[in-house]
C-alpha cells in the first residue's frame, strides 16, 4: 500500500483547454485532490458590454471552438428573449438541425478521437489510425456528415456564420438537404457499428451518485430552450438559473464552481440521459440497452457511453428534421423583427454537448449590451469532478502511480471538459436587482 502519493498532471491532454490534476496523499489521507483550471481567463462578459446585440453571438461563439454553435444559439436566444423576438417555425427547425451538427461533431470527436485511444491502448488518434484504421475511417465518415451539416446550414462548424438574431442570413437549398438526408441514411450502419464498438470496451465501474441537471422539454429529448430539471425533483424556469448554478469562486481554478441542492451536480450527456431517457428516439433507446446503459446511471465514466446514445438519437432526429424541411421546403426569410426597450433582459439556454449553458444579457434602448453573464457547463461540472476524484482515489490507491494517474485522467476526460469555456463566470450583480 502506498502511503504517500503525489500526482501532478500538468496540462491534461485530449481535452479542450488547460487543466492540471493535482493529488497529494500523505500517510494515506488525501490532502489535495483537484482539477486545477489554469486556462487564462478571457473576460467575455466584460467584453460584451457596449457591443451591439447582433455581434454578441459572433463574439461569444469564440468562447469555444467545439461548442461554437451552442454558444451562438444560447446567445441568440438570450437576445431574442430580451428583445421579444418571435421565431418562425422554419428558424426553429433549422436551429435544431444545426445544433445536431455540432452535437454529432463534438460527440464523435470526443468518443472516437479522445476517449477511444484510452481503451484501445494508444496515445492518440494518430497511432489509432495505424492500429485500427477501420475505426478511424468510420469516425471520419460520420464526422464529415456532421461537418457538412454545419457547413450547409450555417457556413462552418467553428464559428457559425449564418445564424443571426431572429433567424438566418443564408438558407440551404432543398437539394442540399436531400443530399444530406442521403448521406445520413448511408451512415446508419456506421452508427450501429459505433454502438457495437463502445459496448465492448472495458468501462470502469466506479460509481458515485450525485444530482443530475439538464434542460427538459415537454415533447422531445431536445437541447434548446425548455425548463431546468434535476434528478432531485426540482423544476425551474430558465430565468431562475442562478438558483441552480450558484457559482462560487475557487482559488485553484480560473473557473467557478457550482452547487445546487447538494455540494455539486453533474451536467452533460449522462445527466440528460438520466433525466429524459424516455424521450429518446426508439433506436437510441435500444442502443442504450445494447450498451448496457440504464437510467439512472451513476457511473461518471459512462458519460461517454451516454454520448454514444446521443449520437444515435441525433442522427435519427436529424433525419426527421431533414424530412420535415424537405417536405415543407425552405423559404428565404428576413430575420424576425426586434423590439428595443430600455433595460431589456433575457436568458438564453441550451444543452450543449457538455451540459447546460446559460447566457443572460441586458440590452439597452440603442441595442447595446449593458450587462452580460455566461455560465458554462464545465464550470458547473468542476465541483463534481473534484468530488468524483476524491471518491475514486481511495478505491485505486493500491495501484501503481501511473495507473492512478491514467485513471484520473480518464475520469476527467469522461466529462469531456471544455476548459477554455469554463473560465467565465459571473459575479455580476445586475444593477437594480
Amino acid at each position: 500500500m502506498t502511503e504517500n502519493i503525489r500526482i501532478n498532471v500538468h496540462h491534461v491532454t485530449r481535452v479542450e483547454g488547460h487543466g492540471n490534476i493535482v493529488v497529494d496523499i500523505r500517510d494515506g489521507t488525501i490532502e489535495k485532490c483537484e482539477l486545477q483550471v489554469v486556462e487564462t481567463p478571457r473576460f467575455f462578459e466584460a467584453m460584451l458590454r457596449g457591443r451591439p446585440y447582433n455581434q454578441a453571438s459572433h463574439i461569444t461563439s469564440r468562447i469555444c471552438g467545439i461548442c461554437a454553435i451552442g454558444h451562438a444559439t444560447a446567445s441568440l436566444r438570450a437576445s431574442e428573449r430580451a428583445l421579444q423576438v418571435k421565431l418562425s417555425e422554419q428558424t426553429i427547425l433549422l436551429r435544431k438541425l444545426a445544433f445536431h451538427g455540432e452535437m454529432l461533431d463534438s460527440h464523435i470527436l470526443h468518443t472516437y478521437m479522445l476517449i477511444a485511444p484510452d481503451f484501445l491502448g494508444v496515445g492518440s488518434v494518430i497511432p489509432l489510425a495505424a492500429s485500427h484504421p477501420e475505426v478511424v475511417k468510420r469516425a471520419l465518415r460520420m464526422k464529415k456528415f456532421a461537418g457538412d451539416l454545419c457547413q450547409v446550414l450555417v457556413g462552418r462548424h467553428t464559428h457559425p456564420i449564418a445564424m443571426t438574431v431572429g433567424g438566418f442570413t443564408h438558407f440551404p437549398t432543398v437539394d442540399q438537404l436531400i443530399e444530406l438526408r442521403k448521406q445520413a441514411e448511408d451512415l446508419l450502419s456506421d452508427v450501429a457499428e459505433t454502438v457495437d464498438l463502445f459496448s465492448h470496451l472495458p468501462w470502469p465501474t466506479f460509481e458515485r451518485e450525485t444530482e443530475y441537471v439538464a434542460l427538459v422539454q415537454p415533447d422531445e429529448y431536445g437541447f434548446i430552450d425548455g425548463e431546468i430539471a434535476s434528478t432531485d425533483g426540482y423544476r425551474l424556469p430558465l430565468e431562475e438559473y442562478r438558483q441552480v448554478t450558484n457559482e462560487r469562486l475557487s482559488s485553484h481554478s480560473t473557473a467557478k464552481h457550482a452547487a445546487f441542492n447538494r455540494p455539486s451536480y453533474m451536467v452533460g450527456a449522462l445527466a440528460r440521459f438520466n433525466l429524459k431517457y424516455g424521450q429518446l428516439h426508439p433506436r437510441a433507446q435500444s442502443a442504450a440497452a445494447h450498451l448496457g446503459l440504464y437510467a439512472p446511471c451513476y457511473k461518471p465514466y459512462k458519460n461517454s457511453m451516454a454520448q454514444v446514445v446521443e449520437i444515435v438519437h441525433c442522427f435519427d432526429d436529424a433525419i426527421m428534421l431533414l424530412d420535415e424541411l424537405i417536405a415543407r421546403g425552405v423559404e428565404w426569410e428576413a430575420p424576425a423583427p426586434v423590439t428595443l426597450a430600455p433595460g431589456a433582459r433575457g436568458v438564453g439556454s441550451c444543452d450543449v454537448p457538455r451540459g447546460i449553458l446559460f447566457h443572460e444579457y441586458q440590452i439597452g434602448e440603442t441595442g447595446l449590451i449593458e450587462e452580460a453573464n455566461c455560465i458554462i457547463p464545465t464550470g458547473q461540472n468542476l465541483a463534481n469532478i473534484d468530488l468524483d476524484m476524491r471518491a475514486l482515489v481511495p478505491t485505486i490507491i493500491t495501484e501503481a502511480p501511473e495507473q492512478i494517474t491514467h485513471k484520473m485522467e480518464m475520469l476527467v476526460r469522461a466529462y469531456d471538459p471544455c476548459i477554455s469555456c469554463s473560465t467565465h463566470f459571473l459575479n455580476v450583480e445586475f444593477v437594480g436587482k
Binding site: H11, T13, R14, V15, E16, G17, H18, E39, T40, P41, R42, F43, E45, A46, M47, R49, G50, R51, P52, Q55, H58, I59, R62, I63, C64, G65, I66, A68, L109, M113, L114, P117, G123, S124, V125, I126, L140, K143, K144, G147, V154, G155, R156, T158, H159, I161, A162, T164, F168, T169, H170, L249, S251, T254, S420, H424, F425, L426, N427, V428
Partner: protein
C-alpha cells in the same frame, strides 16, 4: 527526414486547432510530409524536439511570455495560427477597459486578484513570428498551402488584396450594397469570402488589407446609418489591438493611410483608447 511540428495554445477557443484536426481528416497525406510531435488537444504523446511551431491564441498574461520565448528558442519557424495569435483577435476587446475593471466585472472584488491578466496582444508583440495564418478560425486550405510553402522553403505569402475580390468571383450579392455592414473592402482576402457567402458581412477576422482605405470604409458604413460608435464596434471586433497601435502613430481615419502613399500622418490620440471607467 520529415520536419517535426508542434502545436501550442495560449488564450483562445482552440477552434483553429480543431480546424487543423479537420484538415488532417480531409488531407491525411499531410502526415506523410510532417511529423506531429506535440498537439495537446488531440494527443498525449509529447516531445520538445520540433522545428516548426504553430501557436494558437493571444498572449494575455505576463507569465505566458516565458512559455512563448521557450517555444521561440526551440523552433526554427514560428507560425501564428489564427486571429488570436496573429492579431490579438477577439481577446483584445477587453483592452477597452482597465484590467482591474474587467477582472472586477467578471470575478468580483474578492476574486479579481486570484487570476493574472494583462491587455491581450498578438504573439508577435512578444516574440518574432515568421508567418501567420490569419482567420477566426483559420481556413483549412490556407493552412495546408502555408505548410506546403514552408516545406518548399518558401516564404509564406498571404493575399494582399481585399476580400471583395474573392466575393465578386463567387458572384455574391454585395452586403454593403444591401445597406448592411461588411468590412470586405478593407480586410485581407484568403477565406474565400465565407461570411458574405453566407449572407453576413465580413467582420475583419483576417486583419486589414495592406491598402485598407479606412476613411471611405467609414463613409460607406455611415451611409448605412451607423453611428461612429457602431462603426468603431464593427472595426474593433478582431482588430482592436491594431487600431490601438495605429492610433499612436496615425488616427484611424487618416486619409494619408489610404492612398498607397506612406507619408507620416499627424500624431493624434486614438479614438480607440480605453474609455474612462464610470
Amino acid at each position: 527526414m520529415k520536419p517535426k511540428v508542434a502545436f501550442f495554445d495560449f488564450t483562445s477557443c482552440e477552434g483553429c486547432q480543431l480546424t487543423v484536426v479537420d484538415a488532417l481528416q480531409t488531407h491525411l497525406g499531410l502526415l506523410d510530409l510532417v511529423e506531429i510531435v506535440q498537439f495537446r488537444e488531440a494527443m498525449s504523446e509529447r516531445s520538445e524536439d520540433f522545428q516548426i511551431a504553430f501557436i494558437e491564441g493571444s498572449c494575455t498574461r505576463e507569465s505566458d511570455e516565458e512559455r512563448l520565448r521557450k517555444i521561440r528558442e526551440q523552433a526554427g519557424v514560428v507560425v501564428a495560427l489564427g486571429s488570436c495569435a496573429h492579431l490579438g483577435g477577439v481577446n483584445t476587446l477587453k483592452n477597452r477597459w482597465s484590467i482591474d475593471n474587467v477582472q472586477t466585472y467578471v470575478y468580483g472584488d474578492k476574486g479579481k486578484k486570484l487570476y493574472e491578466s494583462y491587455p491581450a496582444r498578438p504573439i508577435a508583440a512578444v516574440i518574432t513570428v515568421d508567418a501567420a495564418i490569419p482567420g477566426c478560425p483559420i481556413d483549412r486550405f490556407e493552412f495546408l498551402r502555408i505548410v506546403q510553402l514552408l516545406l518548399q522553403g518558401r516564404k509564406p505569402r498571404l493575399p494582399d488584396y481585399p476580400l471583395c475580390v474573392e466575393c465578386k468571383l463567387l458572384e455574391n450579392g454585395c452586403i454593403n450594397k444591401q445597406g448592411r455592414p461588411c468590412l470586405g473592402p478593407i480586410t485581407r482576402a484568403g477565406c474565400n469570402a465565407v461570411c458574405p457567402s453566407y449572407g453576413d458581412g465580413c467582420e475583419g477576422c483576417r486583419g486589414w488589407a495592406p491598402e485598407a482605405n479606412f476613411t471611405y470604409m467609414r463613409e460607406i458604413l455611415r451611409g448605412h446609418g451607423l453611428s461612429d460608435g457602431q462603426i468603431d464596434a464593427e472595426f474593433t471586433m478582431f482588430n482592436h489591438y491594431q487600431l490601438q497601435q495605429m492610433g499612436e502613430k496615425t488616427p484611424v481615419d487618416a486619409s494619408s493611410l489610404s492612398n498607397g502613399s506612406h507619408k507620416p500622418a499627424p500624431k493624434t490620440k486614438s479614438k480607440f483608447a480605453a474609455p474612462k471607467e464610470a
